[in-house]
Symmetry: C2
Subunit: 125 residues, 2 copies
């Protein structure tokens, strides 16, 4: 958020360039962040749900990405339990708007990685 | 290419999971690969054009990504000069089809990184 405000005041303040793709990659350009977004789109909300995805994300990486996404205003964190504190994570409007990016990736991925399949949504009760 | 064939024969052979997003991220999940694609979409073709982009990609990273993209069938490499050998890189059909991913990223990036602007296409003569 701080970075965005800085950038809006002064475009020269962008870290690498003023290209929108570059700035998005500074946030998502890794092998894990969009998988956390994918899981939230599929309906996962809790750390214990996110940590068991088949890609076997490491706990420190998951914690780091959740923090980064919260700082960027893409997810919110709300306590659903005290002692010990446990949180639920949900996509904000800004986060929901990432879905067209995931959809474009899925379309290309399904075509060029034969055998891949879209993961099912989580049924919550 | 080899990986895809392997995967088609046996979906269990995917490196991290059978999710299409995961497999795409195994190829593009970094801060540089999609910027090389961007530059090729904009009309750049030569190493000396790619190396001068404002993000200041390191020479070894650019060489690595070009090799990776060629191996994945996303770009082709053709010599335009001998002694010393110099090459032009162009997107294949598979590479061109990445454009909807870039467009979705641009749409989100322009909205959430105020001050970012799309880079102009290269005029070739």
């Amino acid at each position: 958020m701080k970075k965005e405000q800085k950038a809006a005041d002064n475009p020269a303040a962008f870290e690498r360039s003023s290209c929108p793709i570059t700035n998005v990659l500074d946030l998502f350009g890794d092998k894990w962040t969009l998988l956390v977004i994918r899981d939230l789109v599929l309906g996962k909300r809790r750390y214990q749900e996110l940590i068991v995805s088949p890609e076997k994300i490491a706990s420190n990486i998951l914690a780091d990405r959740l923090k980064k996404l919260e700082d960027a205003g893409i997810i919110t964190r709300q306590a659903y339990q005290q002692k010990p504190a446990r949180y639920e994570y949900r996509l904000t409007q800004k986060g929901e708007e990432l879905q067209p990016i995931l959809e474009a990736i899925i379309t290309w991925g399904l075509k060029y990685y034969p055998g891949t399949t879209i993961f099912p949504r989580i049924e919550r009760y």
